[in-house]
Symmetry: D2
Subunit: 351 residues, 4 copies
């Protein structure tokens, strides 16, 4: 094996990324080394590229980015017996500590000591990536590589949709970025009845329709809660899936939620959000859930089962495919607001 490899890295505390020759990751006895087949770019990668305030506080250059990927195991550590070279895999890139209160009560996904591969340590925008064996998820060969590359955000969507009852439920998805769009498909596949979606961007509204939304609303042009109450006999929706992080969308979402409904919040507001707790939560007897990451590993089991059974059509999401070397093009397109997922290939494009 060569001792260096291509990697897309943040080299200094400033805007931009660069393609570097980096050392092949060293792995410990409980780790595996994975040859990366396909990756996808996350909104978080855009933030790090742009070096916003969050990135400045969190990222310690130099570091290789990339946490959405699939690949094939190249090598396993000495204590690893359940995996072997050649296995087709993806991975949960949140590495939990294993001994805090949350890890001990089955909530490893919110471990306060989490380290994220591709954020806090070298990630998958590279020919090879090292990962603890416990975080590896073996994939059925029936799952295509392009789906394997987006399991991290799909897991966010599945975690959010399945955080409560969904069969026969009316649903409102506020915000149609990639995870919002995926949530529409997941909700329909799991038996939701009417799915409403709100989104100000026209292109994304079109994608929402292609993903299966029944009623797509532009909240800049129409009173979304009034429309939704009108279409639900004044009851409101059973489930709010908040994907925008936009304060006004959050407030509107709560107004459109029925008494007794569930609001699952995934989008990250960048400021405090004033809530009408009495009318929107307390008198409504609503349940509000903060959603972070993916359940380890219930969500992975659920989503791979849905994919293997062919229950999720995510084709409308896939945009361009580029080699790792073309990363500047890819990042520019995404910064333009394109909602789909761009696939990036560190080991060459597939046929």
């Amino acid at each position: 094996m060569a001792s260096t490899m291509k990697a897309l890295r943040k080299m200094q505390a400033a805007r931009g990324l660069s393609l570097e020759a980096a050392g092949v990751p060293a792995i410990g006895p409980t780790d595996v080394l994975v040859r990366v087949k396909a990756t996808s770019i996350c909104g978080t990668d855009l933030h790090i590229y742009g070096w916003d305030r969050w990135s400045q506080a969190r990222i310690k250059p130099p570091v290789t980015l990339g946490h959405e990927f699939c690949g094939v195991i190249e090598k396993v550590g000495g204590e690893v017996s359940a995996l072997k070279s050649g296995d087709f895999v993806s991975a949960e890139m949140h590495v939990n500590c294993g001994h805090c209160h949350q890890c001990r009560v089955g909530e490893a996904h919110i471990c306060p000591n989490v380290k994220i591969i591709g954020i806090d340590q070298d990630g998958a925008f590279a020919e090879l990536v090292g990962i603890p064996a416990s975080n590896i998820v073996r994939l059925d060969p029936a799952i295509p590589e392009r789906y394997g590359a987006i399991l991290d955000p799909l897991g966010n969507a599945v975690h959010t949709v399945l955080a409560g009852e969904i069969a026969g439920q009316t649903v409102l998805v506020t915000g149609c970025g990639p995870i919002g769009l995926m949530s529409i498909a997941v909700a329909k596949a799991c038996g939701s009845s009417t799915v409403f979606a709100t989104e100000t961007n026209e292109h994304r509204r079109g994608m929402a329709r292609r993903m299966g939304a029944d009623v797509v609303i532009n909240p800049a042009a129409e009173d979304a809660p009034r429309r939704i109450l009108g279409e639900t006999a004044s009851t409101g929706v059973d489930v709010l899936l908040e994907m925008s992080g936009n304060p006004s969308a959050i407030q509107q979402g709560f107004k459109a939620l029925r008494a007794g409904g569930r609001a699952s919040l995934l989008g990250n507001p960048t400021e405090n959000v004033p809530l009408d707790l009495v009318n929107d939560v307390i008198f409504k007897g609503a349940t509000v859930q903060g959603i972070y990451g993916r359940r380890m590993y219930e969500t992975w089991v659920q989503m791979t089962a849905l994919l293997k059974a062919g229950r999720l059509n995510l084709e409308p999401l896939f945009g361009e495919r580029v080699k790792l070397e073309q990363f500047e093009d890819a990042f520019q397109k995404l910064q333009g607001g394109m909602a789909g997922k761009i696939l990036m290939y560190p080991n060459g494009m597939p046929q």
Copy 2:
């Protein structure tokens, strides 16, 4: 309004039923009178026709049968304000007492003082039927009459499928009578992955495939648990929906259930069933649920939402349509083991 009407009744403690001129039901201040548009015949009706041991103990002739139906409200009692003449409706025919422990803790469907309309008092195999207003379920006009006539057994299926997690789950349905067949469609609509079905009757196995089962097994010809374990990487299924009441099917179902799985039992065995509790329940950490009736009225809300949204295709289930006068033909066909639902019309056939 005429003072008598056609009704299909059990007139004496013996085999058979007869078409009678009966008095129009008198209704109290909290009741409604419904003109019956379509009915369907239940296996229980067959038992009462045949006058088996259970019927002899339970049925007090004379009584009008029929508890699967839909219709249009003809008249409402003086204290009824939420319903009116002309409403298209079906009804939960289990009338609960309202004051026992179960009724008080949200489990009215297992009220020990339940009276069933069409079993314990005059039912819907008649031109008109009287029902407490609280038991009436208004139907969206988008739901076809033939679906409205089978909501009682569909509710059994929905109650069973949705008694636990179903999205992304592997499912085994043991027994493909009408409710088993409906369960297949409901499970698929609600995101289950692979659905296995076992059934000894060849005709019903064909129907199971048409309802969406992925793997259909004849347990008389093949070792069903071995086959299922083989197709689930030796894990077993996540969910067992027991619809047969057959002791051997129940035992096989438990063998095919994964550790940590859910077994929801709806089929009624006619004798005690020896269970290997240590290996099939305790060491497996399994959850076994007795399922009876339909949740009042969560199940009704769920199933009408699924129907209104067009998520359930039950067309393969519908067999012949007959007038009430042709009841003998209908009962004979069903006694022959035909799995579908025969629709029977007390007020004349629809166009």
Copy 3:
């Protein structure tokens, strides 16, 4: 029976109440008439006495107040069979509509069409009160009258505490008014481990200790979240029971909540509350529940079981006992901030 009775009424749209001779309530066929044995004054009654903005919008004089009480059935309507004269009872005074979505899915306590006896129609600060039979809760004679008079707020406490897991959990109660104090006792009775309580009023902090709180904090004198994190190995509490409606207490409560914790909000803020949703809800994977009223009737079953079994010592809560005629004294004491419950007797004081 006399045709008039004593009643404490709001006679006009202005501050104050007056003792009146009112007609004995007429009851319909599904109602019962109850002779009131003991009542208790709620904070809501104080608001109505004071004629605040909420009261001005909601109350339509003339109306008899009073929704916390117990008594003995005097007479039952013609359709009532499960209750009889002489039964010792209390009642859920929220009268739900029975046919909305919430009523149909087992969430009658948040029926949007609710009418409250003692608010929207004549209540229990009178010799007699009329109530739908379905809302009556029969009480075991082992439950003392003084406990029977405070089941409405105790139900708020039980509903809040038991809205999620409580055994072995650390708990923070923010706000030690009567319901906060009751919540402390309920949490301890149901197996919570450490119970923290915050309260600025010194007298109420003393009562919190007497009700069983392990750590009582004055948030005006001490950084409450820091103290709580310090005593929970930096984890935070498993459960927040928010009883104050105070924005700062709500915000501090969220800071003290562990990742993965439950926040159950019962106190009513009078303005919008800015929440740090990212850090306090989303990244924490927290569950926030709006709590309103009492579950109908699961909460009643739970609380009467706890009382009958002697698991709740609420003695520290009981303050003075007065005749209905002494209402001005009682309201004045409560307006002074006294935390306990004053009992008021419309049919004379017990021996």
Copy 4:
């Protein structure tokens, strides 16, 4: 450190155990070595001593027994950072595989590939024991050693009691061996109302009373279901905790269970048990749960929280205390049917 140590071992495929000089356990990089402070003898140890059919199939001599214990860490492996020498600990002795379906969905306690330390590999009836770091549970110094020695069976009890709602519930414990007795204390601490217990052994009935049971029944002398139905207004108990494994107790337990109740089965029947599924499970809408081991590690968190908060008084359970060398005495006493726990000390008796 000495290279050999005292250990109580099964040396050959025959009845009995022997005290041996064994090698100090070698530990791997992710393991720890614990100096054993106190142990307790399990019914399973008695079976292995007696060399019954189950033992013959499972046990591969030579092996050191012992899986109920606490101790102090002597040494940690090279990859272990969250634990250190001197930590006061106990451990979950079920070692799960980490990669099966159950391990992936948060049900590690029913991992089908489990290995049990003290059964399948060398255990804690020795001066030192080697254990994977992930299985170690650090104990608060407030927890006494004698409690630390019985966390394994206490965990069974806590797992069973808290497998569903318990606050305000009526409970029946069938079988008052050590785990049944612990369950009584746990149920009372967690807010259950009336606790019934059935047991044929008079001595154990006395212990059941001392542990807090409200009604203790000898099912050999009295019709237990009839008595329980009589004391619950014919409703039956909300919760059955089956601790006996006795077919007749199981059947009686189901007869005493209310419609809608929960039956949690922990006791292991040695033969198939005929169940009246229609009347006892299906028509009742009952939920039956198989309970095995302890949830990893929710149960450990719950039980140590209850112990640290002083909510569990288990004093009546403790019997004699012996040195490891006196094992024959201890095993003989237990074979006589004594219900309490004998503590055995491999490193000398505490002061």
